[in-house]
Amino acid sequence: MTPALEIRGAPCGDLQVAPGELLAVIGPSGAGKTTLLREIAGLDPLPQGRVLLHGRDMTAVPVHRRGVTMMFEVPALFAQLDVAENVALALPAARGTLARDQLETALTALDLHHLARRRPQELSAGQRQRVALARALVSRPEVLLVDEPLAHVDPAARVALRREILRTHRRMGTATLYVTHDWAEALAVADRLAVLREGRFVQIGAPQEVYRRPRDAWVAQRIGVPNLLPCPVLGTAPGRVLVRPLGRELWVPADPRLADGREEALVLAHARALRVVAGPDAPADELDPSSGRILGGSFGGDHMDYDVETAAGTLVVRRTLGPGEEPLEVGTPVGVELVADAAWAVVRD
């Protein structure tokens, strides 16, 4: 199938977005996310390479003829126009019946009918972004580019708007490139994730894959993996390495690049890949590498994330709270165990 959007030979690397797919581009501030969107839209020139839409080369086509629309970080609504006029702006023939139908559909889809005659300055931040989304989608573009749409929306409205964007995307099936620096947001909305570092894609894959199998320590830290344990490689097997984190030898799923005889690995463990052992099961010997002491914790509703001081450094360990269970007190001696299948070993740079 021909991709809806394709970038070939660009400095960032190659990228394809399938029809109806939502691909989230994630990276820290200054990684080049917005620049990439502007280059695809045609607002800025692509330094090298080509942009193809449904197989057609659009690199030299001016921005207003590309068939790509963009939703910006700020809504960029026109103060002198009301909501309906702002949305209708994206329609080529605003007086036709078809255009009126499209406008009606967009206003209904985003629940904006009751706000149609209001001016942007009379709307909340979330409502303004909904108008911007309606404007971006009203012309049924081939590709939609979305640039950090939730950055200036308050947390309560953010969840609702994110759901709205997803729902509208699924209903309209527009290929979407969604830029954000918020990993939780990217994981929640994306069919696939592309991780951008200093203007280059360093990993592209399904959200689960990127979350569970980050390519390196940099990606792991960006997606919030709190525990990075350097270990010597003691042995290798297909897809796994033998390492000794926290004093116990374990076969941990590993990056294939570790099979080429590297001596050092970095074991990445989400908080839930570590288990805290308290009470009589905790190691009695303080010299045991798996033993530690609770430094503090944060309450997460049905679980606690503990900071545990160990010989390997301070680890973040998640423990699900049973009914009526009280959190462990600061200073409690505990043991920490790694769940091998929930961890992931990568090359240590």
Binding site: L43, Q80, L89
Partner: protein, 521 residues
């Protein structure tokens, strides 16, 4: 203490209103008497010709200025600065110098005499007036477009809009009110300028020149007053606009910085704007070259002792007037900022009325009201030291210059205050920073650059305008514009070009000094 200061400020304000209001009432009365006696023959035709000429020059200047401003906004900042310099330096060129340059291009012994139709008469006046008016819409558009949000332009483009839609939705809305106001100011300026017709009129009569001749040559003050009041009539729509919507003249000052070049798709609109810009630059280059050639070929001494004396005297009067106008403008701006909205509107209205009042009207009004032996509601004006009256000589010159320039200080100070971010102002108040410290640390640093720019503009206006100065001048106070008109009467173009160059250098040096002082703050 505070109440006493307020009372003193109000008393000063009342005196200023009386000092300027009385002449306006006087000229109105004189005009009504003249009207009662019947309209002078040919006045209607003269008015129609004047209106057509001024309207035409205003339209052409709007086209040239706005087209060039659009071209400039799409240029990278460095090239944009060059275009700014080329067009804004026209502010330093008085209308009579532009008229002399037109003569140097297309007059009887002009540089392009053989290639062009005869320029003296209506075409020449149109060209000279258009050239001097060009910087007004250009500056208004450049200032208004400083605040344009490039993200709005991006939003139009990514939703399929072209340059036309960008113009309609993004560039025109912030431009409409300032340009409407500037257009009225341009029309009034063109209508009220007697110096261009004095050089180029041929057989074409104009209102401003008629008023000038009535006073200077024939002494018919009634007709002159009537014409001067007629000249002020186009100001009324502007005053109504100001009364309804606040000051559009203050708005364009509130920019956000120069900003990158706007990247608009190619379109006929942009191509036309570029063509207009090239034409404007070609006209400026032709006038400049002709002036330079004429100056280099001129025989004998270019500037005599009289020119140096006039330059010194003009500068002296301009600086004296600034000493009156700057505090007056700052006081009214301060009173307007602290008072109720109605008081602010009244003060803004009074100042802006003075700002847009034609120089001919103001000069004649002061001359009629304060000359020796004039009856006033409190008796006949006594003569001043040496038998001089307020109606002639230094005092009157300083008075008319201050009256016509204080409003610009007022507008600049108001705009400077408006530029202070609300957060900063409220933080200062919450932290208990006193009014004096707020004024010194917050208001002045924000307002100073604008007041300095306004000061430079004021100097230009003072040093080169024929009216109101020529209508109240006396032999003991030689002024540059009067001397220039005298030289042009004798067809001596080259000394006028050199005089203008000297004035421009003086003003540029003073403005540069003011800007440097502002930066040092």
């Amino acid at each position: 203490m505070r109440a006493a200061r307020g009372a003193l400020a109000l008393a000063l304000l009342a005196s200023a209103v009386l000092a300027v209001g009385w002449p306006l009432l006087r000229i109105l009365a004189e005009a009504l008497v003249a009207l009662h006696a019947g309209l002078p023959p040919g006045l209607g035709r003269t008015a129609a010709i004047s209106l057509a000429l001024s309207g035409g020059a205003t339209l052409l200047a709007l086209l040239g200025g706005l087209g060039s401003a659009l071209t400039a906004r799409c240029l990278p900042p460095r090239t944009r600065r060059l275009l700014d310099a080329a067009l804004l330096s026209l502010l330093l060129v008085p209308p009579y110098t532009a008229a002399a340059a037109v003569l140097a291009v297309g007059g009887r012994s002009g540089l392009l005499h053989d290639l062009l139709p005869p320029l003296p008469g209506a075409p020449g006046m149109l060209l000279a007036l258009t050239t001097t008016l060009l910087p007004y819409p250009y500056a208004a558009a450049r200032l208004a477009w400083r605040g344009v949000d490039p993200r709005l332009v991006d939003a139009v483009l990514v939703h399929g809009g072209g340059t036309g839609r960008v113009l309609r939705l993004v560039l025109l809305p912030p431009l409409l009110r300032p340009v409407a106001a500037v257009a009225v100011v341009m029309l009034v300026t063109a209508l009220a300028d007697p110096s261009v017709p004095a050089v180029l009129r041929g057989r074409v009569p104009t209102l401003a020149h008629t008023a000038y001749l009535e006073v200077m040559a024939w002494g018919d003050e009634g007709t002159a007053a009537l014409v001067a009041v007629l000249l002020a009539l186009p100001v009324l729509p502007l005053l109504l606009l100001l009364a309804r919507t606040g000051s559009p003249l203050a708005e364009p000052w509130r920019g956000h910085g120069a900003g990158p070049a706007l990247a608009l798709p190619p379109s006929p609109i942009l191509r036309t704007a570029r063509a207009v810009t090239v034409l404007v630059l070609a006209v400026i280059a032709a006038l400049l070259t002709a002036a330079a050639v004429r100056s280099s070929l001129a025989p004998g001494e270019l500037l005599g002792h009289g020119a140096v004396a006039a330059l010194g005297s003009t500068l002296q009067h301009a600086l004296l007037a600034l000493l009156v106008a700057v505090p007056a403008g700052l006081v009214t701006a301060g009173l307007a900022a602290r008072g109720a909205p109605r008081r602010a509107a009244l003060l803004d209205g009074l100042q802006l009325m003075l700002l847009v009042l034609p120089g001919t009207t103001l000069g004649l009004a002061v001359s009629l009201a304060y000359r020796l032996g004039t009856p006033t509601p409190v008796g006949t004006l006594p003569p001043l030291v040496g038998g001089a009256s307020l109606g002639s000589g230094s005092i009157a010159i300083v008075l008319v210059l201050a009256a016509s320039t204080a409003p610009l200080v007022h507008v600049a100070a108001r705009a400077g205050r408006a530029q202070i971010p609300r957060g900063e102002a409220e933080t200062a108040e919450v932290l208990g920073v006193g009014r004096r410290r707020r004024l010194l640390r917050l208001v002045l640093p924000q307002a100073a650059p604008l007041v300095a720019v306004a000061g430079a503009a004021i100097l230009v206006r003072m040093m080169v305008s024929v009216t109101p100065v020529a209508l109240v001048a006396a032999p003991d106070a030689p002024m540059v514009p009067a001397l220039a008109l005298d030289l042009l009467d004798r067809a001596a173009l080259a000394p006028v070009f050199v005089l203008t160059l000297l004035v421009a250098i003086t003003i540029a040096a003073l403005a540069g000094g003011a800007a440097a002082a502002g930066r040092l703050r």
